[in-house]
Amino acid sequence: MSEEMYEDDEYDGIVKKFMYVNRKAPYGTIYALESLEVVLIGAAFDQDISLAFMDDGVYQLKKDQDTKATEIKNFSPTYRALEMYDVEKLYVSKDSMDERGLTEDDLIVPVELVSAEKMSDILEEQDVIFSF
């Protein structure tokens, strides 16, 4: 994974609100992993970053993932590194968690559980929305 570093004043201080929306479970498709890779690269650009997890996307944050039998890399520990990249706003749909019988204790990182209405408020504030 390559990182490109830019000068502090490269963007004339433009800071936009970037949102990464995750709706798919990990491993069945590559979207969860590759979405996380964008977040990590994007973190170097000093923008205002949030992540949203809804529908099956909430499974990306589930504790105790064991992928040995599939031979696919278990990348869930990487979510714990986000804090070090100053990516701290992780919004998780409460409805999606309830539908799947999950609670905050089941998740690998601290998150903010939000209602659908709060989630839509947050979405409306964003300048750039990535949906993977």
Binding site: M1, S2, E3, E4, Y6, Y11, I14, K16, F18, T29, I30, Y31, E34, E37, V38, I41, G42, A44, F45, Q47, D127, V128, I129, F130, S131, F132
Partner: protein, 130 residues
């Protein structure tokens, strides 16, 4: 308006690449600017020149190459996603010891930074995917 475009799916399997292409053409026709088109996930497969689609159907790869040529649009392919899926240019082929390269005209291998920069510099980011 300045648009940045993200194409997340490859040609034919999903309609996403078609929708993105038609959107870009419509935007250009209406006088908007396309700041960059970035290809990620399987979208990188839009950049292989080895496709031979049936002659009575559209040639998506050629459409992209023509778009780049006629309207000077940036077609950027994420290097990491491309390495996973086997889309390589001459430099990448040499670097990784591959016996040939397959990048279609108009495309260039690039980095995710270009996607983020597209988001920062454009007015709107449009995502076409699964």
């Amino acid at each position: 308006m300045k648009f940045a475009i993200l194409v997340n799916e490859g040609p034919y399997t999903h309609q996403a690449a078609d929708t993105a292409y038609h959107f870009v053409k419509a935007a250009i026709d209406k006088g908007h600017e396309i700041y960059r088109i970035f290809f990620y996930h399987s979208g990188v497969n839009n950049g292989t020149r080895f496709t031979s689609p049936p002659q009575d159907d559209r040639d998506l790869v050629q459409n992209w190459s023509r778009l780049a040529e006629e309207h000077n649009v940036d077609l950027d392919i994420c290097v990491a996603a491309a390495q996973r899926r086997g889309i390589i240019d001459k430099d990448e082929a040499e670097r990784h010891g591959k016996d040939c390269h397959n990048l279609a005209p108009g495309f260039r291998i690039s980095g995710l930074g270009q996607l983020i920069e597209g988001g920062i510099q454009s007015d709107r980011m449009m995502v076409f995917g699964d």
